[in-house]
Subunit: 202 residues, 2 copies
DNA sequence: GCACTAAAAACGAACGATCGTTCTTTTTCA
DNA sequence: TGAAAAAGAACGATCGTTCGTTTTTAGTGC
């Protein structure tokens, strides 16, 4: 008796995760202390350790949640109609995220190269994104709506590299302006995909 | 009397910096301990602190040296003749760096967002690179060798974002293959610059 | 060229601070 | 009221750094 309801448990765990996310984004994984997170979440160490039994678990938790959110947001993107316009929308949406999340994204990416557990989580997002775009590009090619000069896998590599450039720059460059870079980058991507408009070459 | 010659001092300081660089690349700035660096350099803490009086100084030293090396290497690049070929060379050269340096590059970039001293160093590299390419693109445009659709500054932003994508991916993606991504990315960059070949539009 | 010397360089045990984590106590709630 | 949840002082480990000691080194007189 006196066990908190699953919803309450989930609520408090999320609350701590939120606080941890802010701390990690602010100072990086290895410079934020457990005390920092406790202070940010207004929770005692004892309470924190009920929900996460190590700092590692907290990092993994952040990564996992970040992954899930990104995947679901990405999956909800409508890539059916005018796909170049949809890509632009995706880009804009992607670049409107708060600074917290931007830095966290980078932080996770680096941690993934050194922490196997985080590495696995990160890999699953990467695979998800790659697969999603591969399917899209393949479909578009099969339907004759694009005529890429390079094969799909190569175009995919280049496309994802450009996307990573945005990922990096939006986090690191304080003067970053989405509406400036997005048009030329979409132009560059169009050169890779070579979309067919009205059956005539562009 | 019995003071070491400036060359010897420089030698040993470089030796420590080398070791620190390897450690930092391996585990990141904030997870490598001074003991790690001492072990790697085969030097006692006391000796290390003669050459660098804090961990901060060591980080700044690494950044500074990295910056200088990159700048000089970049400045030595021949961008005179066929500039698309020169860009390809630059890219290949850039992507052949050892993994150590790749991860260090990313590490420095993040540290720059949180450590003012590193931030200044990083900014000076960024400015140098941006200025170099701005001058190149402006010259090419004035000479009628390129006909970009967007203005120079916008093209520059997009170009540097793509370059950052390479910077990130070559460090983080273990399956990264330079010879696969480089051709399509150069194709994309060409779409931005629109080089003029033999006076005819491509 | 060789002992001698004084200062610089290097050593490495040890310091205080702070880290992640635990544990005893107190509070909260079904 | 009894067990779960939260609190927060305290733990051992480890961090960056220091400091008393030893070793090395370049200059000196012979």
């Amino acid at each position: 008796m006196a066990k908190l309801s699953p919803e309450t448990l989930r609520e408090r765990s999320d609350h701590i995760l939120d606080a941890a996310g802010r701390c990690f984004a602010r100072a990086g994984f290895h410079r934020t202390t457990m005390q920092d997170i406790c202070r940010e979440a207004e929770v005692s160490p004892g309470a924190l350790y009920i929900y996460f039994n190590s700092k590692e678990a907290l990092i993994a938790g952040i990564c996992e949640r970040d992954r899930a959110e990104f995947a679901s947001r990405f999956a909800a993107m409508p890539l059916g109609g005018d796909f170049m316009e949809a890509l632009a929308d995706l880009g804009r949406h992607f670049l409107e995220e708060p600074l917290d999340r931007r830095l966290l994204c980078i932080e996770v990416g680096i941690e993934a190269t050194r922490n196997p557990k985080v590495g696995e989580i990160q890999k699953s997002v990467d695979d998800f994104i790659r697969t999603s775009f591969r399917e899209l590009f393949t479909k578009l090619k099969d339907e004759g709506r694009i005529a890429p000069v390079f094969d799909i896998e190569t175009v995919l590599d280049a496309f994802l590299t450009i996307a990573d450039g945005l990922l990096w720059r939006r986090a690191v460059d304080e003067n970053f302006k989405a509406d400036v870079v997005l048009p030329p980058l979409l132009h560059a991507v169009a050169a890779l995909l070579r979309p067919i408009t009205d059956g005539a070459k562009s």
